[in-house]
């Protein structure tokens, strides 16, 4: 196929793209450079663009309660991802193979649970947790995140199962294999890339959450995003720590999303990043 004369990577266009990218990313880069400055440098006018980077902000975070929040975030995100996959992957397979009526209605009903604004879940969850003592616990967070990620898993995984020909499974069934064996030994290995991408997206949703963590945790189960906000207090804002904390919270996100960028659209459209 000949290359279009209209869509060409002319030098002018490349410059325009680079400039646009720099403008777009400048707010993000500003936070990043701030995390390597001392508080004096942050407050200097004009802001020093050349400075000796320091890890002081990161070191003081490491020795503060922030590290515990970071561990809380890791725990709740990874546990809820595991649970959502455990429940959701078989369900996605079932939906993919189920030819019965009501399949589309069911799929849609599952998706709707994800479209609702988080506050609709937060009030009942808060009251219920208060009643049974799950407020400010990792278990409580894992439960919410699992329920939020389950529809995502079902929606993300179904197309992966759809691509596997049923005839392949039938052959094994004729040979006398049980459906359970066919699922675990033949089908699952074929969708491993899909599971990996889905797992990363689930992890990111739980990791990115602010709203649930804000309301359902206090101190013991406080997650990193909430901890960052807590550096903004009335005694004066610790901008260095805020910048370093923000950078740490976004680090796993940046690494993981690069890994699954091909699946980002389907993941995002199957729901939304929780506010």
């Amino acid at each position: 196929m000949s290359e279009s004369s209209l869509r060409k990577a002319t030098p002018g266009r490349l410059v325009a793209i680079t400039v646009t990218l720099l403008i777009l990313l400048s707010p993000f880069l500003w936070l990043l450079q701030m995390s390597f400055k001392t508080n004096d440098e942050i407050l200097q006018f004009p802001p020093p663009l050349i400075f000796t980077p320091t890890l002081q902000n990161y070191i003081s975070l490491w020795h503060s309660a922030f590290s515990a929040s970071f561990v809380n975030s890791l725990l709740s995100a990874s546990l809820s991802t595991t649970l959502a996959l455990l429940f959701g992957v078989p369900a996605a397979y079932a939906l993919s193979r189920w030819a019965g009526r009501g399949k589309h209605a069911l799929s849609f009903a599952i998706l709707v649970t994800r479209m609702a604004p988080p506050i609709a879940f937060t009030i009942p969850f808060f009251l219920f947790y208060r009643w049974i003592g799950l407020l400010d616990t990792i278990t409580g967070l894992v439960l919410v995140y699992t329920s939020f990620n389950l529809p995502l898993v079902i929606w993300m995984m179904q197309p992966f199962f759809d691509t596997i020909p049923v005839s392949l499974e039938e052959a094994a069934l004729v040979d006398g294999a049980r459906t359970r064996t066919v699922f675990t030994k033949i089908v699952l290995p074929m969708v491993t890339p899909g599971i990996a991408a889905t797992a990363i997206l689930c992890f990111l949703y739980a990791w990115n959450d602010f709203f649930f963590a804000l309301i359902l945790t206090r101190t013991n189960a406080r997650t990193a995003p909430v901890a960052v906000v807590n550096f903004m207090n009335y005694e004066g804002w610790e901008w260095g720590k805020i910048a370093a904390g923000g950078s740490l919270v976004m680090a796993p996100v940046l690494i993981f999303s690069l890994a699954v960028r091909r699946y980002l659209v389907s993941g995002l459209t199957a729901g939304a990043v929780k506010g």
Binding site: A16, L95, F108, T113, N208, L264, V265
Partner: protein
């Protein structure tokens, strides 16, 4: 038969979980919305003497009515900007080049960042004492108002931050659509003497209109969730200038303890979101039927 049983077995746990964590809370939310529930008032959770009281109060509650208007302004403005800017970005980056393909990934960064980090980033851009924006203004001898606490600019500053965060999403969707357009179409138009603007208007635009509408709808539904930005940047203020319905419901339940009333606000909001979502599905079906 064994296969059928396996399918049922694979589906059941998920359905039970979804019922327990989505359907039951929804029912509980509706039940709570029929009571004057306050955590500090014993017995108020089960007081059904006047079940529709909360709903009757809603139309006469200026903060509720205002919050709907604020949400409408925020949603419409940010969706329009995001679709327009996303389209322009996609047109700019729709070139077959290794470098551009590599660069595309970096355009997605704002969208994948944790929403609270996005809010922190904009908090510092809008903070007069340390913001690069205010440094630049000062260097140019321009005096900027305190953007997030100004009645005139507070909502705009939320719209700007939200647009920064979500333009990558519409960009990604439009780019995917652009790449399905065969080059032959625009080549043919070019041979026929069309200029670039005409090609865009008569060839490209009709192709991407459905995706523009759909990505706009997705953003519209999600614009209800701008919570971290509002929480950190303006707190709903000044006054109630940036108080969207979601934020008002949050304040009612977790700040002033009006759980019953907050539930009613949330139920109304849920109905609105569901209505828009159903509209989206209906449009999606119609598009499939046309294709």
């Amino acid at each position: 038969m064994e296969r059928r049983r396996f399918i049922a077995f694979a589906l059941t746990p998920s359905l039970i979980v979804l019922f327990a964590v989505a359907v039951l809370p929804a029912i509980y939310l509706i039940v709570t919305s029929l009571t004057p529930f306050q955590l500090t008032t014993p017995g108020s959770a089960t007081d059904f003497s006047e079940p529709l009281r909360n709903y009757r109060l809603l139309p006469g509650d200026p903060r509720f009515v205002n919050s709907l208007a604020v949400q409408a302004k925020l949603s419409v403005a940010s969706v329009l900007f995001q679709v327009l800017l996303g389209m322009l970005l996609a047109l700019l980056l729709n070139v077959p080049s290794r470098f551009v393909e590599f660069a595309r990934t970096f355009f997605l960064i704002p969208m994948v960042l944790p929403p609270i980090v996005v809010a922190v980033i904009w908090k510092l851009i809008y903070a007069p004492d340390i913001s690069p924006l205010y440094y630049a203004a000062q260097a140019l001898h321009v005096t900027l108002p305190a953007l997030t606490s100004s009645v005139d600019f507070a909502l705009t500053s939320i719209v700007i931050a939200d647009t920064w965060e979500w333009t990558p999403f519409t960009f990604l969707m439009v780019l995917a659509a652009l790449q399905t357009i065969p080059d032959e179409y625009s080549e043919a138009a070019l041979v026929d003497g069309a200029n670039k603007l005409q090609i865009f208007w008569y060839v490209t635009l009709p192709f991407i209109t459905p995706i523009l509408v759909i990505s706009g709808m997705f953003r519209l539904i999600d614009s209800v969730k701008a919570f971290p930005l509002i929480f950190l940047l303006t707190g709903g203020g000044p006054g109630t200038v940036t108080e969207v319905t979601n934020y008002y419901a949050y304040l009612l339940a977790f700040d002033t303890n009006e759980i019953g009333y907050s539930s009613a606000v949330t139920v109304v909001m849920l109905l609105l979101v569901c209505g828009i979502s159903l509209g989206l599905v209906w449009m999606g079906r119609r598009k499939e039927a046309l294709a």
